[in-house]
Symmetry: C2
Amino acid sequence: MKNKLKAVTIILRASKSLEKLLKSDISSYGLNTTEFGVLEFLYHRGPQPMSNLCKKLLMANSSMTYVVDNLVKNNYVDKYNDSEDKRSNFVALTEEGEKYIESIFPTHENRISEVFSVLSEEEQESMMESLKKVGILAETIATNKEGK
Amino acid sequence: MKNKLKAVTIILRASKSLEKLLKSDISSYGLNTTEFGVLEFLYHRGPQPMSNLCKKLLMANSSMTYVVDNLVKNNYVDKYNDSEDKRSNFVALTEEGEKYIESIFPTHENRISEVFSVLSEEEQESMMESLKKVGILAETIATNKEGK
DNA sequence: ATAAAATACTTCGAATTCGAAGCAAATATC
DNA sequence: GATATTTGCTTCGAATTCGAAGTATTTTAT
């Protein structure tokens, strides 16, 4: 039992350290993690409606508005109406934004991947499996408990 | 390589879900996670100087001031000068605070431990080991990179 | 066709957390 | 023993994120 609460703190701390690493890497490009997340998602998946960005990047739409509007100001993305559904906005990389994320991403990937060099393939696999299970259960319990 | 960035998101998401669960449980007692963390730490380790709370709970001391001052307002803890070192404040549970955390903790422990029921002992052990390694390396890289 | 409900997004205000700057006390250095 | 540095904490302002409420538009139900 004690063991399990310890496991919780280990997960939280590893995640915190990882976030710190991400932040330190990403801030070296002059972005914050959410901005980077959006750029990367658009880079790999193409233009997206706001609603989908929120869903996939797990952010409240009020937060997404803020983040995307900043990216628009910096000329990394465009935001335009969906002609099909006038309620909906699409977000897409500008040329500048695309060049930028393209120039950044490989370095980023290398730097981050480095932390898994301490694990064998099997260790990594099994860790991912376990974490998925725990994460899903936690999410389920957490959202059911609120009972909205 | 792709695999590794995926591993990152799995860690971050599991941790996010876990935090959500903690929050939802803890808020049912009328506390937030940091307040709970402080009360729990004092409960298990006895009175502590502010500086140690910061260190162990990984919080900036400005944040700790805020959290502890709120707990003082709610009469869960006392804050008093260390007679040995007049710069230092000690924080300790009040009787009320002790009764409170005592009444809460077992339930909390049960609820949270539940999420690990999906893992065998070995799975849990190996997950903890792997996460520790990754976490430590991430922390090291992150803090060296800043090069303070 | 009209009213009601749902969806997409924005705006606003609150919560949480942090870093930077500041003050006071203690310790080290000359 | 005076000065400089370190340590412990507080205050302040900024960043990030969220939920609630509001607007506009579309979809659904009557």
